[in-house]
């Protein structure tokens, strides 16, 4: 019985009842649950709409139907109005309720009036459903989700098609048998219309309109084939299908969709629609007669390419991604040309020329010009200096030679950058931005309150933000300004340490060495200006009063420190870590780099780069501390290196406190790659880092729950040395004068105080800082550290795994 009631919802004739219900029920179980409680158990505590209706008893059936018919005669417009009314819960809504209630009561008693009552109830019921907007949407969603089975699909198709059919009928035969037909149409509209809208909207999210319409028809046809024999009583469904070809009505529906969509959904859809719809609109307006899909898309691309050249912006991922592959697309040129210009050797005019040409020809011709014949394409590819792609894409090519070639090309391009940059420092476009994109929002968002990295988006960050498309698109003025600063600063660092490390420079550095002296000098000048200005910004805390100092300290969120000297030190550290971010984190970044893919270079560049990095950060921080040291010489300090070490030390320790997991420290690597200047070594590092992250991740993951034994055995060959190195690292840390060891004890002090050593943290510290203190390049696993602790009789434990 319930079932039959439900069936009525679908169609107006009782003959349909039997045939339709099962599929419907099966199709959308959620719908069932939403609708059925009222029907199945009228006394269920949850008041379903229908139950509400039943409780209200009103004589208004006929009047209501009249109302409905009146409205119906005003076509779909009216229907939409009604819908709006019901949404606002106007009195009419209540009337509907009454009608429905009456209808349902009637149904139980009489057979004759059943039809009418049911229909009206249908309309009312549906309307109530429309009234509850969110429920409707969820229903629609769940309906889609649930449509995994063929049955479900068919049901849905029928729903949409009937709706359309109803509309078309409305349009064409408004006067035809109002009593019988109209209510059914309304009900159909009411019930299925929203679903169609949703569906259309969803479709619009990513496919052209025309396409959608056609598909609907197709599906409807399929459904029909199945249905027609089963439902003979259905009024001319075949007609509906044949008459289906209405487009104006559909446009109307679309318009309604965009205006009427619920507030919750709206925003999200708008985001997408604004672009795609616009595109489509442009498409449709000038050449509305086009119907072929393929043609459509092509013309869409070219049309938009021509028309909306300047203002076109991609706001969806899909658009961005596909933009690369749409032939006539402007953005493609925009990106590739300046980039390659920047990176490639200016002497190598060929490729640049090609690209220039292609850019200058901005008409439809450039499709042909850009699509090269295969041989030419291969040739072009060979001549191309830079290979673009996400890191993962690049990583696919495991061959070391390819990698090295890429690196060489990059190096060459870099040299050329520095050459080209000097003559016209104002021509700044794009290339550098892409690594210097001010990711303030991303940046902030990816950090937790402690300032440590929130886990998870390692590789994604690299891919997305580094992707040239994004950054070029986001290019705007102040970013350019910012970028102008950053590269020079970066260059400062790199060039600055060149004189320090001429002998041990790795390949990439050698390449930098070969730069012509002029540009280098200018860069150095540039950079020194920059760096001095930067370091001048360090407040001279010595000049502050003690009260001011303590205030400053509290600004940084530290507790008050008694000692003035320590205050100053602390503040300087804070300042450095706050402002000079690309100085400090440098070290862990480079040191952690392993080179698993490049067996030939394995030992050399790694150690070199790490020493380089230490050297670098040492000099940087030393240069910073020198200032402070002059003003208040510390008796305990013996030599500068140790001081700078202490600086790194304590910074690292702070980092460790806030971000104790191994991962997080690794992510600091990503952080330091905000840097503007993708030097070859840096790129290589990035490449390597990703791999090392992968290995590291698996390593830590595996050691944590289960296999330090494995890793220790693998480490065993070098264990004797390493164990000693750990000991000396711990000693070395405690010998560095530090402030506030009471609250932040060194590892040695922790050990002496019998504090259980958390192995993960300890291993992290050793790998990031500790072993570097004693010039040890190897890394230790937590399992190895555990053995060391146990042999020393140091109480150690794993960090508790909460989720187990």
């Amino acid at each position: 019985m319930r079932v039959s009631e439900d069936v009525i919802v679908l169609s107006s004739s009782p003959g349909n009842i039997i045939s339709h219900t099962p599929s419907r029920l099966a199709a959308s179980s959620t719908k069932l649950t939403e609708i059925s409680p009222g029907c199945v158990s009228p006394h269920s505590p949850i008041m379903s709409p229908s139950e509400l209706l039943r409780n209200l008893s009103g004589p208004a059936v006929s009047t209501d139907t009249c109302l409905l018919t009146d409205n119906a005669s005003n076509k779909a417009k009216k229907v939409s109005k009604e819908r709006g009314k019901t949404q606002k819960k106007s009195p009419f809504f209540d009337d509907c309720h009454d009608a429905v209630a009456d209808g349902e009561q009637n149904r139980r008693k009489r057979t004759m009036d059943q039809l009418q009552g049911k229909e009206s109830s249908k309309g009312g019921l549906k309307k109530t459903r429309n009234g509850t907007k969110d429920r409707k949407t969820t229903k629609a969603k769940s309906g889609e989700n649930g449509n995994k089975t063929l049955v479900g699909k068919v049901g849905k198709a029928i729903a949409t098609s009937t709706d359309l059919a109803g509309k078309s009928e409305l349009a064409r035969e408004p006067a035809k048998s109002l009593n019988r037909q109209e209510p059914s149409m309304i009900s159909n509209n009411a019930e299925d219309g929203p679903r169609l809208e949703e569906a259309v909207k969803r479709r619009l999210d990513w496919t052209p309109t025309k396409d959608t319409a056609q598909r609907v028809i197709d599906l409807g046809g399929e459904g029909d084939i199945e249905r027609i024999p089963l439902s003979p009583g259905r009024p001319g469904f075949g007609n509906l299908v044949s008459e289906y070809g209405f487009s104006g009505e559909f446009q109307k529906a679309k318009g309604r969709t965009s205006t009427e969509s619920g507030p919750t959904k709206r925003r999200r859809i708008e985001l997408v629609q604004s672009t795609v719809l616009k595109q489509n609109a442009e498409l449709v307006k000038p050449k509305s007669k086009r119907s072929k899909k393929a043609k459509d898309q092509d013309s869409a691309a070219s049309n938009t390419g021509q028309k909306s050249r300047g203002r076109k912006k991609f706001t969806t991922l899909t658009a961005r991604v596909t933009a690369n592959y749409t032939p006539g697309d402007q953005t493609d040129d925009n990106i590739s040309v300046p980039d390659i210009e920047k990176y490639s050797d200016p002497n190598d005019n060929k490729c640049v020329d090609i690209l220039h040409k292609s850019r200058s020809r901005s008409t439809a011709n450039d499709i042909e010009s850009l699509i090269l014949p295969p041989e030419a394409a291969v040739k072009f590819l060979e001549e191309q200096d830079l290979v673009f792609g996400t890191c993962s894409q690049l990583a696919m090519e495991e061959s070391p030679t390819t990698l090295r070639e890429i690196q060489q090309v990059i190096t060459a391009s870099e040299v050329c950058i520095s050459e080209t940059r000097t003559p016209k420092p104002d021509a700044q476009p794009s290339t550098l931005t892409r690594f210097a994109t001010p990711r303030n929002l991303w940046h902030v968002a990816s950090r937790d309150s402690d300032g440590s990295f929130a886990p998870a988006q390692v590789i994604d960050t690299v891919d997305l933000t580094e992707s040239p498309l994004v950054s070029t698109l986001n290019r705007d003025k102040d970013r350019r300004e910012k970028k102008k600063e950053e590269p020079s600063q970066q260059a400062a660092i790199f060039t600055k340490d060149l004189p320090l490390q001429p002998a041990s420079a790795s390949d990439s550095m050698k390449n930098l060495d070969t730069e012509d002296p002029d540009s280098q000098a200018s860069q150095v000048k540039n950079s020194t200006d920059k760096s001095t200005s930067a370091s001048l910004e360090i407040p001279r805390y010595e000049g502050f009063t003690t009260a001011e100092l303590s205030q400053q300290i509290s600004c940084y969120g530290f507790k008050a420190v008694r000692n003035r000297k320590k205050m100053i030190e602390l503040l300087q550290k804070c300042w450095i870590s706050k402002h000079g971010k690309n100085m400090a984190p440098e070290q862990p970044c480079v040191q952690r780099v392993i080179d698993p893919s490049d067996p030939n270079d394995k030992e050399v560049p790694e150690s070199k780069s790490s020493t380089l990095a230490t050297e670098l950060s040492a000099t940087v921080s030393a240069s910073v501390t020198r200032r402070a040291g002059n003003a208040q010489p510390n008796p305990a300090t013996t030599k500068k290196p140790s001081r700078s070490q202490s600086k790194q030390e304590s910074q690292g320790k702070k980092k460790q406190k806030t971000a104790p997991k191994c991962f997080l420290d690794i992510e600091e690597i990503e952080d330091s790659e905000d840097e503007a200047f993708p030097s070859p070594s840096r790129l290589q590092n990035r490449y390597n880092t990703i791999q090392s992250i992968a290995t590291e991740a698996s390593l830590t993951l595996s050691t944590e729950p289960c296999s330090p034994k494995k890793s220790t055995t693998s480490q065993n060959p070098d264990s004797p040395g390493l164990a000693l190195q750990i000991t000396s690292a711990v000693r070395a840390q405690s010998q560095i004068p530090r402030s506030n060891s009471r609250n932040r004890p060194s590892w040695h002090e922790k050990i002496l105080l019998f504090v259980p050593i958390v192995l993960e943290d300890f291993a992290t510290w050793l790998n990031t800082e500790g072993l570097a203190l004693v010039g040890e390049d190897r890394e230790v696993s937590a399992g190895f550290v555990r053995e060391w602790c146990e042999n020393q009789g140091i109480c150690c434990c794993w960090r508790k795994v909460v989720s187990e």
Binding site: K709, P745, H748, C789, W798
Partner: protein, 394 residues
């Protein structure tokens, strides 16, 4: 990380049913007296395996204490309970030793006459596992204890072994005689004298003996008071002119980790690291980080306990509340006798739980251990621990 000070007392104990001596139980607690009462059903919260009335009362026959942290104690407890699985003991050696000891001693040590299942090397493994806890004899338990105490991990710990039953200690001494390796010197072995009151008769086990064990910081009152004064109340402290005795550098009591000599009349203040280095001068192992448990105070030349100094230091740095309690009690004590249960100890059950406490099991076992525990039949009376959550800790 908010850390707690080194606990005043944390011990692992071996519980024995005074009715059936073969029923043993290993647990750990910061307060043995309370814990024993729980086991005996005098207060709420005893372990399930000690709940059977016909085995009560239980008595603590051995208490190993001096653990510098709860983590350490639980690790030891775990290792003692599952010595066969412990990483700190070579399983081959363990089995071999057991075979030997069980053959030699089975007749005279095992009152209940339960055989050592390990003798049968072919025994089914599952059966073994099932049988092991119940069957482990006192001798074997002691042998495991001995083995643990001389393992690299636990050897360095400042542990004290306290026997409360002369017969158990007899077994122990005979075991020690037979073992090739002698225990390291820093592990004290103490035999508590038997009371006039035979406490097992009054249903409370050897509660009277246990009660005498100091489980709070009361013995450190003077020391804590002295160091507080030395670091805060003296002229030098007020002038900010405290200096490390060893490196002569200025010391800021609130910033630096400094140790104070426990001798009442000694004003020696040293950096922890400096003092450790000083202590280690006597050691001939350059690789050693942890100083010996005893050392010479650089000022008064008396022998001082490293553990005690660290305990005091940890109290000062991490246990402000405890120190206040201690000092308060000290004042109170001048007028009235001290309370029996010090408040400082009461909350030590809530020792921070943020660590995974098992250092012990090999990591492969870390995942499987809980299953084993869960699979253990409930009627086995030997192994449990202070808390029901210990299973999780494994």
């Amino acid at each position: 990380m908010t850390e707690k000070p080194i606990p005043a007392f944390y011990g692992c104990y071996l519980l024995r049913s005074s009715v059936r001596h073969a029923s043993l139980y290993i647990g750990s607690t910061p307060n043995p007296r309370r814990r024993l009462a729980q086991h005996n059903g005098l207060s709420k919260g005893g372990a399930k395996r000690t709940a059977r009335e016909n085995l009560r009362p239980w008595e603590m026959v051995i208490v190993v204490h001096g653990f510098p942290s709860r983590v350490a104690a639980l690790q030891f407890e775990w290792a003692w309970q599952k010595t066969h699985a412990s990483r700190h003991v070579d399983p081959e050696e363990a089995n071999a030793a057991h075979r030997k000891t069980s053959r030699a001693n089975q007749p005279d040590t095992e009152a209940s006459g339960v055989g050592e299942k390990d003798v049968d090397a072919n025994a089914d493994k599952g059966k073994k596992r099932k049988a092991r806890p119940t069957r482990r004899s006192l001798l074997r338990t002691l042998a495991d204890l001995h083995r643990l105490l001389r393992s690299a991990y636990f050897t360095g710990w400042p542990l004290t072994l306290r026997f409360f039953a002369p017969d158990v200690q007899q077994v122990w001494t005979s075991l020690c005689d037979r073992e090739a390796v002698i225990l390291p010197g820093n592990i004290q072995v103490v035999l508590e004298k038997e009371d006039g009151v035979q406490s097992s008769e009054d249903g409370a086990g050897n509660a009277a003996q246990i009660r005498r064990m100091p489980v709070d910081y009361s013995d450190m009152q003077d020391y804590v008071g002295k160091s507080a004064f030395l670091l805060d109340g003296t002229e030098e402290a007020e002038e900010g002119d405290l200096r490390c005795r060893l490196c002569k550098a200025r010391v800021i009591p609130n910033d630096d980790l400094v140790a104070v000599c426990p001798q009442m009349d000694c004003h020696c203040i040293t950096h922890v690291v400096c003092l450790a280095a000083e202590f280690l001068k006597t050691s001939n192992n350059p690789d050693q980080l942890v100083p010996p448990m005893q050392g010479m105070c650089p000022a008064c030349q008396s022998t001082v306990s490293w553990t005690l100094m660290m305990k005091e230091l940890s109290l000062r740095t991490r246990g402000r509340d405890e120190v206040q309690n201690i000092l308060k009690r000290k004042k109170r004590m001048q007028s009235s006798p001290p309370p029996v249960v010090p408040s400082a100890v009461v909350d030590s059950d809530s020792w921070d739980e943020t660590h995974d406490l098992v250092s012990d099991s090999s990591t492969g076992e870390r995942s499987t251990a809980p299953l084993n525990v869960a699979a253990k039949p409930a009627e086995i009376v030997i192994e449990d621990s202070e808390w029901d959550d210990v299973d999780v800790l494994e």
